[in-house]
C-alpha cells in the first residue's frame, strides 16, 4: 500500500529543560491505517501525540500532513487539518449534555450573526450520528456527569466523528473500561476504519492493540525502536521492544 501518507514526521524531537522527551522520530502513516503506539511510561508517546495534535511544538524536526509541512501552534491548527485527539480525560464537559458535548466547538446556529444555537437540529443530528455509530445512550439530553465510562468514551468518539476527523488519536481508550465496554469501543474503532479514517491508538493492552491495529510503533526513552506490521509480529516481540529497546 503506497498511498500518500496522511501524517508523516521527520526527525521529530522535543526537549523539556534539558530532558529529551522525543528524539529524532520519523514515522509515516497512511490513510485508513490503524496504528498502535506503545511504549513504557516516559517513552515519549504522549509527547509525540501532543505535537501531532497541536498541544506542543516540536523542538526540532518536521510534521507533514498530506505531504505538506505544518506548524501547529494551537490545537485549533490541528483541527483545521482534521486531526482530532481523545485524551484519557476525554475532555468532556460534565455539566453539559451529550449533544452539547458532541457539538462543542462545532455548533449549528439558528442565527449565525447572534450565534443563536439551533438546539433542535443538533439533537436530531446527534441521534442520527449515534445511530450510525451504533452507540447506545439513554438520551442525547443526558448530562455527561451521569454517564458510565464507556458512554463517555463513546460520546468523545462521536464528537470527533462529528468534527469530520480524518486522523483520530486515542490515548489509552480502554484503560478505564470494562470487558463489554472495551468490546464496544474496539468495534467502534473498526467502524471508523471502515469509513476510511486513520487512527492512532496509544495502549498498554497488547490484546486490544493486536486486535485492531495494522501496524505497531514502539517508542523507548523518546526514540523509535520498532515499526512493525501487526501480522508480522507478536505480543512477546513487542513487549521485548518495549522493555529492552532495539536489539
Amino acid at each position: 500500500m503506497e498511498a500518500l501518507p496522511v501524517v508523516e514526521t521527520k526527525s521529530l524531537s522535543r526537549y523539556f529543560k534539558g530532558v529529551v522527551a522525543l528524539n529524532d522520530v520519523s514515522v509515516s502513516i497512511s490513510a485508513g491505517e490503524v496504528v498502535g503506539l506503545v511504549g513504557d511510561n516516559g517513552a515519549g508517546k504522549s509527547t509525540l501525540v501532543k505535537i501531532l495534535s497541536g498541544d506542543l511544538e516540536p523542538s526540532a524536526g518536521q510534521v507533514l500532513i498530506d505531504g505538506e509541512e505544518v506548524h501547529f501552534r494551537h490545537p485549533r491548527d490541528a483541527k483545521k487539518r482534521q486531526i482530532e485527539t481523545i485524551y484519557q480525560d476525554l475532555a468532556l464537559c460534565e455539566n453539559l449534555d451529550i449533544m452539547e458535548n458532541v457539538f462543542l466547538g462545532h455548533e449549528s446556529y439558528r442565527n449565525p450573526l447572534l450565534r443563536l444555537l439551533d438546539r433542535r437540529r443538533m439533537y436530531r443530528e446527534t441521534s442520527q450520528l449515534l445511530e450510525e455509530l451504533a452507540i447506545r445512550v439513554p438520551s442525547t439530553r443526558e448530562l455527561v456527569m451521569n454517564l458510565s465510562g464507556g458512554q463517555r468514551q463513546a460520546t468523545a468518539l462521536a464528537r470527533v466523528a462529528k468534527a469530520g476527523a480524518r486522523l483520530i488519536i486515542l490515548d489509552e481508550p480502554t484503560a478505564a473500561l470494562g470487558v463489554n465496554e472495551t468490546r464496544n469501543l474496539l468495534d467502534l474503532v473498526m467502524r471508523f476504519k471502515a469509513q476510511g479514517r486513520t487512527i492512532i491508538i496509544i495502549s498498554h493492552e497488547m490484546r486490544d492493540v493486536f486486535e485492531v491495529t495494522d501496524r505497531i510503533i514502539v517508542l523507548k526513552r523518546g526514540e523509535l525502536v520498532a515499526d512493525k506490521l501487526t501480522f508480522e509480529t507478536d505480543p512477546d516481540e513487542i513487549v521485548r521492544y518495549i522493555i529492552r529497546g532495539r536489539d
Partner: protein, 334 residues
C-alpha cells in the same frame, strides 16, 4: 443501565421521597428552593408588619437592590465561567464619579458622561481580563490589586462628592415609569432588563454555552478549539462594564458621584453565590441571581420594618448565605 430509583444510589441514611430527589437533582433546583424561601419570607413579613405587602414598599425593595442586581447579572456570567471580580465596587465608584464630574458642568452632554464612565469601566475590566488570562495571575489577587489601584486613583482625582443637578441624569436613578396605577422605578426596569439580557445570552447563545463549558472544563474547551482566553477577557470586560453601569445608576439614585463609597463587591458576589453559582464555576442560572438579590432585599427591608437593628441584619444576611451554601453542599451527596 438498570432501572434503579435515584434514591437507591444515595449515600444518605435518610431516604428522601423520589419526586423530591428528582427535584433536587435538577440543574436549577436551588431556584425552586430560593423561590420557596422568598415566598416564605414575604408571607412572614406580611404577617408581622402592616407596611410590608404594598406595591410602594415592593418598589422600595426593588430600588434598593437594583444597583447590586445590575452588577450581579454580569458577575453571574463571569462566575459561572469560573472567574471572580473583586474590583466591582471600586469600578462602581470610579464610574459614578466620572459621570457625575462630567455632569457638574451643565454644558456637557449626558452621552459624553455615559461614554466616559463606561469607557473607563470597560477598560478596567479588560485590564483585569488581560492580567488574569495572559499573565496568569490568580483572579482574586489580580482583582484585589485592581480594586486598590482604582480606588486610589478615584480618590486622587477627587476626594469629595460631585453633586449632579441634571434632570435627565437623575431620572436614571430616581425616575419612575408609570404603568396604570404602578410607578415602577427606572433602576428596577434597568435591573430587570439587564437580567433578561444575560438570561437570553446564557440560555440561547453559543457564548452562553461556552460560559458553562469553560466553567466546568477549560482545558477541554481549549482542545475543542474554543478561544478560552478570549472568552475570559470578554467576561472580565463585561463585568467591568456592568459595574460601571451600576455605578452610573447609583450616581443617579444618590444624586452624586461619591469616590469614597464603601465597596459593594462582596454584596454582589454573595448575592450571586446565594443564587446558586459555585465559585468553582460551571453551575448557576441568572434566575437564581435575581432571586438571591431579591431575597437579600426582602430580608433587609422586612427586618428594618420590624425595627431590627442593622448589626443584626448583617448577622442574618451572613447566616442565610452560609445556610444556602451548606444546603447546596449537602445536596451533592444525594
Amino acid at each position: 443501565m438498570t432501572a434503579q430509583s435515584p434514591a437507591d444510589a444515595s449515600g444518605l441514611a435518610v431516604r428522601l421521597p423520589a419526586p423530591l430527589v428528582t427535584l433536587l437533582r435538577r440543574r436549577d433546583s436551588n431556584v425552586f428552593f430560593l423561590l420557596f424561601v422568598l415566598v416564605a419570607a414575604i408571607v412572614f413579613f406580611t404577617i408581622q408588619s402592616p407596611y410590608f405587602f404594598d406595591d410602594r414598599n415592593a418598589f422600595n425593595i426593588g430600588r434598593a437592590v437594583s444597583i447590586t442586581g445590575i452588577a450581579a447579572a454580569f458577575a453571574t456570567l463571569l462566575m459561572i465561567s469560573g472567574g471572580l471580580d473583586l474590583s466591582i465596587g471600586a469600578i462602581m465608584n470610579a464610574s459614578g464619579l466620572a459621570a457625575a464630574v462630567i455632569m457638574v458642568d451643565p454644558e456637557n452632554s449626558i452621552i459624553v458622561a455615559f461614554a466616559v464612565a463606561l469607557g473607563i469601566s470597560t477598560f478596567i475590566g479588560f485590564s483585569n481580563g488581560i492580567i488574569v488570562t495572559k499573565i496568569g495571575v490568580n483572579p482574586i489577587i489580580a482583582t484585589i490589586g485592581m480594586q486598590f489601584v482604582v480606588r486610589g486613583m478615584t480618590l486622587a482625582t477627587r476626594s469629595g462628592s460631585a453633586l449632579v443637578r441634571d434632570r435627565t441624569f437623575l431620572e436614571i436613578g430616581q425616575g419612575e415609569l408609570v404603568i396604570g396605577t404602578l410607578e415602577i422605578p427606572v433602576p428596577v426596569i434597568l435591573m430587570l432588563t439587564t437580567m433578561l439580557l444575560c438570561y437570553l445570552v446564557l440560555r440561547f447563545t453559543q457564548f452562553g454555552k461556552y460560559i458553562y463549558a469553560i466553567g466546568d472544563n477549560a482545558s477541554a474547551c481549549r482542545r475543542a478549539g474554543i478561544n478560552v482566553a478570549g472568552m475570559r477577557i470578554a467576561l472580565y470586560t463585561l463585568s467591568g462594564l456592568g459595574a460601571g453601569f451600576a455605578g452610573i445608576v447609583l450616581a443617579g439614585l444618590t444624586g452624586a458621584g461619591i469616590p469614597y463609597a464603601a465597596g459593594s463587591e462582596l454584596s454582589v458576589i454573595s448575592a450571586v453565590i446565594l443564587g446558586g453559582v459555585s465559585l468553582s464555576g460551571g453551575v448557576g442560572v441568572i434566575q437564581g441571581t435575581l432571586l438571591g438579590v431579591l431575597l437579600v432585599g426582602v430580608l433587609k427591608n422586612g427586618m428594618t420594618l420590624l425595627n431590627i437593628n442593622a448589626n443584626w441584619q448583617m448577622v442574618v444576611e451572613g447566616s442565610v448565605l452560609m445556610i444556602a451554601v451548606s444546603l447546596d453542599q449537602l445536596k451533592q451527596r444525594i
